[in-house]
């Protein structure tokens, strides 16, 4: 019970910190000191304390977007195990509910962006919709490969079934799935090489441009949901790499946290060593993720 609660409470508390790790790694690569690790918490608190400026063009859809997105991300989080800790909720077939909850959040984020009538936000919304449409089948292929590998159709179950022993026998499968999941993590969280969250030109953004008009508590919701989403994908991807469950609550939790922060650091390294791809080159990269997942599926065999 405590373990299940921990796999939700830890991300709720520490997801922004994982995000801060990315910033810190990128700053160090660039030879800068970087902002304090706790700055992101202060930013969120500052936004929560502010009033709001709403566009005259917008309706309830604009205000509903961040709220629904945060609720959907929180619900999706409840399916995600953390290292050796089981997820709060788990049942066979939950992978589909998990993916569709994230899609629900995305739908309303897109609608909120379109509600402003801004061309920039329309552009971002269009790209977000297209890339997630291409990423979703790849995610399902990767998860199906794990399902076939483990004989379990729940997210917790298929990740828990991966042990050190299964890396000895099925290393190619697991490695391919991990790479595919890492690529999907970058795409779903709008990181380099799919999108550059720190760019300063609206025309080239995807996620950041969709939320240009949000401010105050709405923006706090968006930021927080974004850190949670990164946590979700990082936890799923690294559960494969850290297969051991010791049985001790503390060690499992620490083990899981180490995995998530390592994944965040890996994102930071990726962002530092490569540039964003041209937008037309994104679909082939996503197709490559799909190809890895499909290859993994075939390697699992019969």
């Amino acid at each position: 019970m405590t373990a299940r609660a921990l796999s939700v409470v830890l991300p709720l508390l520490m997801a922004p910190l994982a995000f801060a790790v990315i910033h810190r790694v990128k700053a160090r690569f660039a030879g800068r000191q970087g902002k304090p690790l706790m700055q992101i918490y202060r930013d969120i608190r500052k936004c929560l304390g502010k009033g709001a400026t709403l566009s005259r063009t917008t309706t309830w859809l604009f205000r509903a977007g961040p709220t629904i997105n945060l609720a959907a991300t929180l619900a999706a989080l409840s399916f995600v195990p953390l290292g050796g800790l089981p997820a709060a909720v788990s049942f066979p077939g939950d992978i589909f509910v998990f993916a569709y909850l994230l899609a629900m959040g995305r739908f309303f984020t897109i609608m909120a962006a379109l509600d402003t009538g801004s061309s920039f936000e329309g552009m971002g919304a269009s790209r977000e919709a297209v890339y997630s449409c291409l990423a979703e089948p790849m995610l399902f292929l990767a998860l199906l490969a794990l399902a076939r590998h483990s004989g379990d159709l729940s997210l917790s179950g298929m990740l828990a079934a991966v042990s050190a022993g299964s890396w000895l026998t099925g290393a190619p499968v697991l490695a391919l799935v991990t790479v595919a999941l890492f690529l999907i993590l970058l795409a779903e969280n709008c990181r380099v090489p799919f999108d550059d969250p720190t760019t300063h030109l609206e025309l080239t953004m995807i996620h950041e441009v969709m939320v240009l008009d949000h401010g105050g508590p709405d923006f706090a919701f968006i930021e927080y949901a974004q850190t949670l989403k990164l946590w979700i994908f990082a936890a799923v991807a690294t559960s494969l790499l850290l297969p051991a469950a010791s049985g001790s609550l503390v060690w499992d939790a620490l083990w899981g946290l180490a995995g998530v922060f390592a994944a965040a650091a890996a994102v930071g390294v990726t962002e530092s060593v490569m540039a964003r791809l041209r937008l037309t080159r994104v679909p082939p990269l996503l197709a490559a993720a799909g190809a890895f997942a499909a290859l993994a599926l075939i390697l699992v065999g019969g």
């Binding site: 009033g51 400026t53 309706t59 049942f91 629900m104 679909p283």
Partner: protein, 670 residues
């Protein structure tokens, strides 16, 4: 059965009474009220038949050769009666409001006559248990919409659409006649029950031909690619309540037909499942990709209906493949999922067509590039359309999600259990369904965002308003039913199961009590429903928290952020075609998008000299059917030599035909 027959008689009486009450308001009162009463009774009959332990049966002699008035309401029939009567009633309610401005200008008596006939025809079609009787009902159901589409017959595009519909409907029926004649010949009877008993070794050699005949004949009605060409023409041309019924219910007759013919074709084979699965993915993906290129709201909705037919066929393909390879558990999941999706799509697409109808009613057209900002002017319609659009994209906690979830889990279980060669198909199915879902999100965010969000792009949209109470009531009823279907998903699954079992009754494998030992469907649906509705409740709590946070603080209004530009104008908003551009560019080869571009010339180009336009044609229609039909016409020209108007020669033809027939008959006798 008595209740069902009463419903049919009420519908028939309403049809005649509407015809007798003339062109005006009287007909617009008698028609909808009678239709509502008939459909209400029918709904009770359908629900009681669904729960009946033994299917109600009626068999009366009929003077038509090989025919009999033979009706059976088994679980499969009862399930398909639900969309017929629900949408019949809702469309009658909506249509009364929609047509009230046309009283006297159009012959509303005739309109309601054909409307009742269409509902009646479909109610008979899904219950007919004799092939001759089935074909007669099928024709009633198929002919009536032609007259309904023609309401605005003075418009050229409406006449073209109605003609395309008529051609398609009849070509489909031709395949069905061949199908039933061959099957009836093998069975020695035109009763479905006799056809189902044909020994597998007798049926075997004919099975592939029969399968493809049924697929072609019923597929035209269902709108599967490449037989879908009539659908995007007919739906926008018809008045919206008729489009709602056609899209929600009528095209499901095609699905029903395929399902029913599968029960007649003996043991299912893996290739059947693979064919259906491939068609499903093709229909779903191509339907939506083509839909993304459409600028008109109802035309886009028509393409979305094609996509949903794709989902249904995808589920069917997965189910048949799993059943044929000895995996009844996943099969039951996929089949009950597709049946659930039939109901879900009916409710949501009906609602969306009503919403589109309200936009058309208020603005006069549905061209997305000329609309915008309607959610301020018609908040009810906008809310209904956005929520229905999210739900039909399969997003939780919408009702369509639970149907798709069953298909997904069926596919997932099949992908885990099957040997590699079959599992590849299941993986393709799951990935295909995910891709279709993503495309649907693009399509519906685009349609809703362009029409309802932002600022009005032209003056057309400025004076729009929500529809009258009657039309709103129709939309409320479908919306609440959709919500109810989502909340009651676990119970509805139990109601679907008998029909899904019926589809597998002819298989040799032993059916498990529940679909799978690995996954309990009822637990799955209950858990999924509580979690996703929990997420919705959480959203409400967060919204409350947000409003508490903002209470007492400054909340200001301002223009949308325009990056410092001084004079933003509504025309600068992102357009529907730009929104879909990344996808249409990615698949440009496939879609055959046409671009017309006149670039600006000189250093100071004059206003209005440069132009840019894109158009996404229906390639199946333009590159396949159009050449085919013109070739047929050219070939028919050759026959004109025999059609010269000389009466004497015509009589000679008759005589020659008689002599030849006589010779053949005598030859056989000898």
């Amino acid at each position: 059965m008595p209740l069902y027959l009463t419903a049919l008689f009420v519908l028939l009486a309403t049809a005649l009474a509407a015809l007798a009450s003339g062109r005006g308001r009287a007909a617009n009162l008698v028609g909808p009220l009678g239709c509502l009463a008939g459909c209400g009774l029918g709904l009770f009959a359908a629900v009681s038949a669904l729960t009946a332990p033994v299917p109600p049966v009626l068999r009366l002699p009929w003077s038509v050769p090989y025919g009999a008035i033979s009706l059976t309401i088994d679980p499969l029939s009862a399930l398909f009666l639900l969309p017929v009567f629900i949408l019949g009633a809702a469309a009658a309610l909506y249509g009364k409001g929609y047509l009230s401005g046309l009283a006297g200008k159009r012959h509303l008596g005739a309109h309601w006559f054909f409307f009742c006939l269409m509902v009646l025809g479909m109610a008979l079609t899904v219950c007919a248990a004799n092939a001759v009787f089935f074909l007669v009902s099928w024709e009633i159901m198929s002919l009536a919409p032609f007259f309904l589409i023609c309401l605005h017959h003075e418009e050229d595009r409406v006449r073209t659409a109605a003609r395309t519909y008529l051609f398609a409907a009849h070509l489909g029926t031709a395949f069905l006649m061949a199908f039933f004649l061959i099957l009836g010949h093998l069975a020695g009877s035109m009763e479905f029950s006799a056809m189902a008993r044909v020994a597998p070794d007798v049926l075997g050699p004919y099975a592939p031909a029969l399968f493809f005949l049924a697929l072609a004949g019923f597929g035209v009605k269902a709108g599967i690619v490449p037989l879908h060409v009539w659908l995007p023409e007919a739906h926008p041309a018809a008045p919206s309540h008729v489009s709602a019924f056609m899209s929600g219910a009528l095209i499901k007759a095609g699905v029903y037909g395929v399902l029913r013919s599968l029960t007649l074709l003996g043991p299912l084979a893996p290739w059947m499942g693979q064919t259906l699965l491939a068609i499903g993915i093709l229909t779903g993906v191509l339907g939506l990709l083509a839909g993304l290129g459409q600028g008109e709201l109802k035309r886009f909705l028509a393409f979305s209906s094609i996509e949903n037919m794709g989902i249904i066929f995808l589920g069917l393909g997965l189910g048949v493949l799993a059943a044929a390879t000895g995996h009844p558990g996943p099969a039951l999941f996929a089949l009950s999922g597709l049946l659930f999706h039939v109901i879900n799509h009916a409710l949501l697409k009906g609602l969306l067509f009503f919403g589109a109808g309200s936009v058309l009613h208020a603005v006069g057209h549905g061209f997305m590039e000329r609309l915008g900002g309607l959610s301020k002017r018609m908040p009810f319609t906008a809310g209904a359309c956005v929520l229905a659009g999210a739900a039909i994209s399969g997003l939780p906690p919408g009702n369509a999600f639970f149907g798709e979830l069953l298909i997904y889990v069926g596919g997932g279980l099949a992908a885990m259990d099957m040997p590699l060669t079959d599992a590849v198909w299941a993986w393709t199915g799951v990935a295909g369904l995910a891709f279709i879902g993503g495309l649907s999100v693009i399509g519906f965010t685009r349609a809703c965002g362009m029409v309802f969000s932002g600022e009005p792009r032209t003056a057309d949209a400025v004076n729009a308003h929500d529809p009258d109470p009657l039309m709103r009531a129709a939309m409320w009823s479908l919306g609440l039913l959709a919500l109810g279907a989502a909340l009651a998903a676990p119970f509805l699954f139990t109601a679907m199961l008998p029909a899904a079992r019926l589809l597998l009754a002819g298989q040799s494998t032993v059916l498990p009590v529940l679909p799978s030992e690995v996954v309990n469907p009822e637990t799955l649906l209950t858990a999924a429903a509580s979690l996703t509705f929990g997420a919705a409740a959480l959203a409400l709590i967060l919204a409350f928290a947000r409003s508490r946070l903002l209470a007492g603080r400054s909340v200001r209004s301002h223009g949308t952020w325009d990056c410092g530009y001084i004079r933003p104008a509504p025309r600068m908003q992102y357009t529907a075609s730009s929104y879909a551009e990344p996808m249409t560019v990615l698949f440009r080869r496939l879609l055959g998008e046409k671009r017309r571009f006149t670039p600006p010339e000189g250093l100071f180009p004059a206003t209005g000299t440069s132009r840019f336009a894109t158009e996404t044609p229906d390639r199946v229609k333009d590159d396949f059917f159009a050449p085919l039909f013109s070739a047929v016409l050219t070939a028919c020209d050759a026959l004109k030599r025999f059609q010269h108007g000389n009466l004497n020669l015509y009589i000679l033809y008759l005589l020659a035909t008689l002599v030849i027939l006589l010779a053949i008959a005598l030859g056989f006798a000898a």
